[in-house]
Symmetry: C2
C-alpha cells in the first residue's frame, strides 16, 4: 500500500520519484502503543521521530495543579514528532489516545534528507508549518469562540484531516475519545465539555456513541464553528 505519509506529502506538492523511492525504502519496523500510553515523554531526547500509521495521539502539557492541556491531535499519516529532530529535547509529551501503530524514523535519516533532498525537505517543513497553523486556529477558538463553536471547529478540522487520509468525511468518522479528553483539548472541565457535547447533540448537529461520530448536519456544524479550511492549506502547489 502507499503509505499515508506519501499520500499526504504528495497532496501538498509534487514528489520526485527518487524521493518517493526513499520514503518507500524506510525501514518498515513498527511499534504499538496501548490507549493512554505515553509515546514520548517530556524531557526526553528521542533519536527518531515517529510516523503515526494508525490511531489517534495527542500532544499535551501538564501544569502545576495537575490539569492537562492537549495542544494537538494527530491522525494516521501525521509525522508526529518531526519537530524533535531539530528541537532535540521534548518540551511536552505525546500520548496515545487510542491504540496506535507507529513507525520510528531515525533522526539520522531525516538529517540525510535535509542534506540531499531539498524538495522533500521543504515538504516536511511545510507539514510542520501546517501544524503551526492548526495551533493558531486553536488559539483563536480558545480565545474568541464560544465553547460550542470551539468543539464544532475541532470536529470540522478532524473531518477534513481524516478525509485526506481516507479515514472519514463530512458524514462522520471514528472518534474514540472520552469526554475528559475532549475537555483537555478544549481547555474546559469534563463536566462542562459534557454539556457542550450535549448542546451539539440537541441542536441535531451530531450523534456520537460507541466511539463513532456521525455528523447529521455538516452545514450547520460548519456555520456554528465559522469553519474555513483555508488554514489547512490543502491545495497542491509548487513549493
Amino acid at each position: 500500500m502507499t503509505s499515508p505519509l506519501i499520500r499526504k506529502l504528495a497532496q501538498r506538492g509534487p514528489l520526485r520519484d527518487e524521493e518517493r523511492r526513499l520514503l518507500e525504502s524506510l525501514p518498515q519496523t513498527t511499534r504499538e502503543f496501548a490507549t493512554g500510553e505515553d509515546m514520548v515523554r517530556i524531557g526526553e531526547r528521542p533519536a527518531f521521530s515517529t510516523l503515526l500509521l494508525s490511531g489517534y495521539c495527542g500532544r499535551y502539557s501538564t501544569v502545576g495543579d495537575g490539569s492537562r492541556q492537549i495542544t494537538a491531535v494527530h491522525v494516521a499519516g501525521d509525522f508526529v514528532d518531526l519537530p524533535s529532530f531539530l528541537l532535540h529535547k521534548m518540551d511536552h509529551g505525546i500520548v496515545a489516545l487510542s491504540r496506535c501503530v507507529v513507525m520510528p524514523v531515525a533522526h539520522s535519516i531525516l538529517h540525510d534528507i535535509t542534506e540531499r533532498f531539498p524538495n522533500l525537505t521543504r515538504l516536511l517543513w511545510l507539514s510542520t508549518l501546517i501544524d503551526t497553523a492548526i495551533h493558531r486556529e486553536w488559539l483563536v477558538s480558545m480565545g474568541r469562540r464560544s465553547a460550542a463553536a470551539q468543539l464544532a471547529h475541532l470536529l470540522c478540522e478532524l473531518a477534513v484531516k481524516l478525509r485526506i487520509v481516507g479515514l472519514g468525511d463530512e458524514r462522520g468518522y471514528r472518534l474514540p475519545f472520552t469526554q475528559g479528553e475532549v475537555a483537555d483539548m478544549l481547555g474546559l472541565s469534563a463536566v462542562h465539555a459534557h454539556r457542550v457535547i450535549k448542546d451539539l447533540r440537541e441542536r441535531g448537529l451530531i450523534t456520537w456513541r460507541a466511539g463513532k461520530l456521525t455528523i447529521n448536519d455538516w452545514a450547520g456544524l460548519e456555520a456554528l464553528a465559522e469553519f474555513d479550511p483555508a488554514y489547512l492549506h490543502l491545495e497542491t502547489e509548487q513549493r
Copy 2:
C-alpha cells in the same frame, strides 16, 4: 552591526562562514510600518518574507463577531512571515504593534537557501519550530492557567525573547502595547485585561507606564506564571 537574525540563529546552532556571508549579503532595503498598520493581510500571497529589524508586531485573526485574537507577538530579529515562503497564501494577518522597520527577503532567496545550504535551512526550520512551541505554550496558558498567570507568562516570555536580542531583561523592557492589545493576546475583554494588569501591579510584581515595563519581582512573576523557558530552546546545539 551584526544583524539580529544572525545573532539569533547563531545562538541556536553553529553558522558556517559561507552562510553568514550569504545572510550579510542580503539586499539591505528596508520598509517601515506605522503603529496599527497591517504588514501582511489575510489572503495575500507575498513574494517575500519579512525580517523584523525593530519594533513589535503580532499575528492575528478576526472572527465573525468582529473580535480579534492575536496569536503571536514578534520582536526584533524574528523572521516574521517565514511560513509564507512555503504556505504561500496567508491564513491570518500581521499587524505592527509599534513602529516597525522590516527587511523583505524574497522567497526566491529562501528557496535558493534550501537548495544550497542544508545547515542554514535547518536553522530556519528550527526557528519556525520554536514559534510552534510558543503557540503550544500559549494554548496551555489559555486553557489551563488563570488569567493572571497567563499574563505573567507572556511577560516572562517577552523578557527572555528580548534578552536574546539585547533589548531587555528580567528587570524590564519597552512594552508599547495598549491594554486592548494585551486583551487580544490573552483572549480576554479589555476591561478584564485591565483588572488582571491591576492585579499584577497590586501584587507588587510589575510597574507599567508610558510604554515601559518594569519587573519589580522577577521570581514572583515567574512563580505565578510557573514559567519554564525550556520551550524556547535556548541552548546552542549541533542541528
